[in-house]
Symmetry: none
Subunit: 193 residues, 4 copies
DNA sequence: AATGAATGAGAATTCATTCAT
DNA sequence: AATGAATGAATTCTCATTCAT
């Protein structure tokens, strides 16, 4: 691929994230093209279908998240790595409405399945370490963690939760994951508004 | 309003719930009309805009939920009423894809604000009672509860969580709401699959 | 169907015949709409697909032709009915470029198959009578007749044969269909230009 | 022109014949390029327009046919040369859908006029010889012959006539060209299926 | 009030053609 | 000369909404 082509591909992906974040997944491809400063044909040359474009964004996102799980797994404190990951992700999501929309919306077909698997694997590792460190209940599985994470990200975005609400909501969930002995006392929780 | 007009209004609302539940919020108004067995013009006579139709469904849903909070507030065990409400709602949501989609999708503008307020009030009451009974932490507010409820409903629908995953996810949240002394031991939680 | 709807349907069909006749089957649906004096949506309401529109025209044409076979079978001279039919059809075709284009072009699928069968039946009847009258060779079948007819119509249209050429070409074919005893002498044939 | 340029020109022409034969004249130029194994720009460097490419193919075809007329004129039996030519051409056409499509489709404008003239000349020669040998009626002209040939080729292709139907159809036409004394008896004609 | 036909502004996608590399 | 990326007009089809019957 030529240099200019790759550059355009990046610009389109970036534009798509912005546009879909602002207007939801039903924003038009035309809009993405305009934002990227390219002609509509260029978008379709790089992503032959709107679906393909959406999936590309998803893959990107999933890849970035998976990257963070690896980083935390090696560098972070095992006891808190999972909690950090969840908190970070929710915060980031707050800036990425459309992307997460897609995560749910569009048929998460074979194309992205692999990326999803990769992320699941990364989260599972964090979970295992936290469990080993006694920071997470024994009876909690990856599926619940990912389910909660997804749900909270969606909620944060769609309903446009503010920072405070986000923090308090996440706090409740993190506490729900902890074994009784590790639960936070009231004064350690984010204060209600 | 004539009797047959009122009857049509009901049929349209019912049809809309079915159609949007099955096909998501981008299902066409024509589809709703066909399901309701009326002509497209009739739908627009009752609901001047697709948005208006969506909002009407939301109001309906919110109204029903608010009704359940009242019922539980008077009849239920104060200690468990809130938890019952959350569990029930999530289960119901699993059968109502489109409706909850809308809850998020369409800007929850002025039109439904009042219904939302009513629900919030109902939930607040349940929360107060649960708190008074010592079943919920002191530092948990209505906003978090509603936020979590919404997020979980969305997640359950969009991602199509199965019954088990739903239960385990809800269990984590409920535990996060409990004061340390009331937390459930592992064996009281739904078992992982 | 309402009166105005039926009127529009007719106008669209008529416009489509004109447009496709002039510009070939790749003329745009938009063009048909403009010629018919309706909005594009109206065309698609009546014919949900471009294919459907093309097929509707074909059916119309086939139906008209079948009608002529019936008329000739009852009213015409058995000895010449088939020849009259062929000559007439070719002449008409000369005014109907696009229509015949379609006859070939677009997948003659199930939709039109029945109409084709009807025409085949009508032609078969004419052929049987001519054969019985000794005006057509015993070894000629319907398939050849229809094949020749189609081919000549196409040729006449596409290549824009003039009247004379059309007549002389048809004359050769008709002679090919005759038993030796009935062949026309030179002076009975259309003169070369 | 460079050697590799000439080689590319040939490859493009060959690819175009294949592609248009398989997918009809509306096949994309990209498709031709891909089949030829060159970039799209190269196609347009050699043929500045899709039309130009189509015309080039036509010229090629016409040239080959003209070649066959010459061969038959010198080598063949004068009495049957024309008939052989017609039969051969129809058979070949059956393998060349797209090409003949084009023959009709694209306005046979000035560009190819010369090639057409050449073919006409060749056919005329065959016709003259057959006439001289008494194998073709005196009142048949080149135009009719070419008209019939074109029509049958088109028909054979578009409608996808099978071998049998092709033969019987051609037989009728050839008989129509013969003077009465030379007509074939039933048993000499291809049998109906 | 109900009907359902008409409208027309998009939306996704294709493709001939141009042009920078 | 070749490459292949970019362009953008055109095309088919959808759907919310209006309006004549």
């Amino acid at each position: 691929m030529r240099a200019d082509a790759r550059r355009n591909r990046e610009r389109i992906l970036a534009a798509a994230e912005v546009v879909f974040t602002e207007k939801g997944p039903s924003a038009s491809t035309e809009d993405v093209a305009a934002t990227a400063g390219v002609a509509i044909g260029t978008v379709f040359r790089h992503f032959p279908t709107k679906q393909a474009l959406l999936q590309a964004i998803m893959k990107d996102l999933l890849h970035r998240l998976t990257g963070e799980t690896s980083r935390l797994a090696t560098e972070g404190d095992p006891a808190t790595a999972l909690f950090t990951f969840i908190s970070h992700t929710v915060e980031q999501a707050a800036q990425q409405r459309g992307v997460v929309d897609l995560l749910a919306e569009s048929g998460v077909d074979v194309q992205v399945a692999e990326s999803v698997r990769a992320l699941r694997h990364g989260v599972d590792e964090l979970l295992a370490r936290s469990r080993a460190a006694g920071a997470v209940r024994e009876d909690v599985g990856v599926d619940e963690v990912i389910a909660l994470l997804t749900a909270i990200c969606q909620g944060a975005l769609r309903a446009g939760w503010g920072r405070d609400l986000r923090h308090r909501t996440v706090a409740i969930i993190l506490d729900g994951l902890r074994p009784p002995a590790h639960r936070l006392a009231s004064e350690q929780r984010p204060a209600a508004q």
